[in-house]
Subunit: 233 residues, 2 copies
DNA sequence: CACGCAATGAACGAACTAGTACATGCTAGG
DNA sequence: CCTAGCATGTACTAGTTCGTTCATTGCGTG
């Protein structure tokens, strides 16, 4: 459980150094570090909630796995739901910040689209906690996401990358003119999401191990191909 | 252990064969009717679990909405998990029994495939409880589905309809020869599933109402089209 | 027709769980 | 260096929640 470096999980809090506590301070004394504490709590809670759901997660258990105590959870987040909200918000923010670091602007549109799909596929695969959190949230009818601010929602729903790919595709005459970006995005999300979200029941029922590198690679190409085909003339 | 009867479970349980319980029984006296009681409990529990998850559902609440008491839940299902298992099993059984009542054998392969997709789409849309239950189960890593018998799993994974459509499609030269039926099924499931499972967060983030008839119809066709395109030459 | 077993009900309790009261250490500003 | 207020830890409580105990009623059958 040693989770030392977790610094900027919650926010870019410049907590740099803490010379105060006698530079030579030993682990004996307590060191107040709000940002770190918050970040640590969110990190632990993210995993707990994604693993057991909102009602299944236990505050006491989260507190135990934290470097601090239950008291701090209520001090910073007020309630179990407050913590859950912070977790969801933090997860969405992280996902957003990492996406779109891809350079697709000067590749042929269809190739760019395929790349975009593969990236999405791999990213979701690499972040099962986020996927599970989205499932949990939908079981709750998206009630907490609905509380987000308009700005937050806007940035979460930013699919400008896809827009520009489609635009170029149409301009270059390699894509249908009637593509609905949101509809396309939904298809991409659906295919990538399912791969992570439902892998357990699907693997069990169809007796395949979706987790092997070979199966993953094959599925990744299948999804990319399916999407590319859906936009061509 | 009281695995006594496993016949009529939840559903329009028309109280089929029930010669024993004096057919003329009046509402005044208590009428022992195990099957009906079981079915009633499962019905209520299905909704509760799908709405709140395994840990979120409350046995007391389920009991209240039942025509019987909590005592009966434990009498028939032993535990909360036992009830949950029965609910999952029953749901999968229902889904299976209704599917494949479609006559697709003498339609052109591609048309048959499109129909099959539309049917799946509509069916999942009409059964959100089942979809949500599958989500809940996957959050639990499919641990309970994994306990099903091989026979149960076999019938749940029966995609012979799809197999035969593909077979005809290839024979008639209108489909690719290298289609993997399970892979195709996964794509169909993914696209249909997402439409119900993630509608809340998706609608909120992208500011669209996925529930309108128009949006539903459009999405249905988009999904059918995407799948059909994915198998053509 | 009575007897054993299945089905049912009401109330109870032990364990758990979210949240809090109280006490105290730490850091910064004057 | 001293005080105010933020940060933290400990111990506790009030309210749930699953599951059970004890008792009773209906049903089929010998």
């Amino acid at each position: 459980m040693a989770k030392a470096s977790t610094k900027a999980t919650a926010q870019p809090a410049p907590k740099v150094d803490k010379p105060k506590t006698s530079a030579t301070a030993k682990p004996k004394t307590r060191t107040n570090d709000p940002d770190r504490t918050r970040a640590n709590i969110i990190e632990v809670a993210t995993h707990e909630f994604s693993e057991k759901g909102l009602s299944g997660a236990r505050i006491d258990e989260i507190a135990e796995r934290t470097q601090t105590s239950k008291r701090m959870i209520y001090y910073y987040f007020e309630s179990k739901e407050g913590l859950y909200r912070a977790v969801i918000e933090n997860s969405y923010r992280r996902i957003r910040s990492i996406e779109a670091t891809l350079d697709l602007e000067h590749k042929p549109p269809l190739e760019a689209l395929a790349q975009h799909v593969r990236f999405t596929f791999d990213y979701q695969l690499a972040n099962p906690d986020f996927i599970r959190l989205v499932m949990v949230e939908n079981i709750h009818h998206g009630a907490h996401v609905a509380q987000f601010s308009p700005e937050q929602l806007d940035s979460m729903g930013d699919i400008s990358t896809l827009h520009s790919i489609i635009k170029r595709g149409i301009a270059e005459g390699v894509m249908r003119k009637d593509i609905d970006p949101v509809d396309l995005h939904m298809s991409i999300s659906a295919l990538c999401f399912f791969n992570v979200a439902n892998r357990h029941t699907f693997s069990t029922i169809f007796k395949v191990d979706m987790a092997t590198p070979a199966a993953t690679a094959a599925r990744r190409e299948s999804v990319a191909d399916t999407i590319v085909r859906s936009v061509t003339l």
